[in-house]
């Protein structure tokens, strides 16, 4: 018998995906590895200076598992955003289990070249 608490714990088991984060002059790009997650099972949210990535894995239930190394858990990871990031504008792209999120820096936070007169 599972109690309500156990049930909630089971639902909240996540693993953190591996990420690369690159900063460019006007953008910040984040790449997250979400193998086995179809495009429609990815959730990218920006709220209160936080970026949350969630990905639900789709599993094969065929036959019997003889040796298993792959995680059964879904993916989730939360990142705190710098004040320089414009929270109104986020792009996300999913391809071959790799999620690419592009964040844009606020206009005022982008490097400006100042000419010397």
């Amino acid at each position: 018998m599972t109690t309500a608490v156990q049930e909630r714990q089971q639902q909240q088991t996540f693993v953190a995906p591996r990420v690369n984060i690159m900063e460019h002059p006007e953008t910040v790009t984040l790449e997250a590895e979400l193998p086995g997650v179809p495009k429609d099972q990815v959730d990218v949210q920006v709220k209160d200076n936080e970026l949350t990535i969630t990905g639900r894995r789709v599993h094969t239930e065929e036959g019997q598992l003889r040796a298993g190394e792959r995680t059964r858990a879904d993916f989730r990871r939360v990142f705190t955003l710098s004040r320089a990031i414009d929270q109104e504008k986020v792009d996300a792209h999913m391809e071959n289990g790799l999620l690419t999120v592009t964040l844009y820096k606020k206009e005022s936070m982008r490097p400006r070249k100042i000419e010397i007169k």
């Binding site: 990420v19 900063e23 094969t60 065929e62 019997q64 040796a67 298993g68 071959n96």
Partner: protein
């Protein structure tokens, strides 16, 4: 069951256990908690082996790869999956790119799976979908379970 994590047999092999520990710690704590910066990283994609009555299934997590960069070979009872994840941002100028976090693994990998009872190499099918490679290995006729009816009178 013969599903063993492939280990690099080169000079760095003694470190592979530490690399595994490092990646586990990074997954647990994030924030580069155990960034030990090994000079050369290898990566070992995780895999599952499943069995049904008439075939085996190998599934391997290979996010962000190209189909063309994965190679499958079958010799006797052994399926070998190898490939290379290429670093895609080489064309960008070094000074225009600042890494804030670098956890993804690149480079070559190779793993072999010994299939008990073997498989029919001519009928192997492989698909790459959502970053997961799925290989279907039909069992040989003689390896399939047979039902023998016994008449009891």
């Amino acid at each position: 069951m013969a599903l063993v994590r492939w280990k690099d047999r080169g000079e760095l092999a003694p470190w592979s256990a530490l690399q595994d520990l490092e990646s586990q710690m990074q997954r647990l704590f994030g924030e580069g908690a155990a960034d030990l910066n090994w000079p050369e990283r290898t990566w070992l994609p995780t895999a599952d082996l499943r069995e049904t009555d008439d075939h085996y299934i190998v599934e391997m997590d290979l996010p962000g790869m190209r189909k063309e960069d994965v190679e499958l070979t079958a010799i006797d009872n052994v399926l070998t999956i190898k490939g290379e994840r290429k670093y895609e941002h080489k064309d960008e100028k070094e000074d225009e790119r600042g890494y804030r976090r670098f956890e993804r693994r690149y480079g070559r990998f190779e793993r072999s799976f010994e299939i008990p009872g073997g498989f029919d190499a001519d009928k192997v099918e492989a698909h790459y979908d959502n970053g997961v490679l799925r290989v279907n290995l039909p069992k040989r006729e003689e390896a399939k379970p047979k039902q023998i009816s016994v008449n009891v009178n």
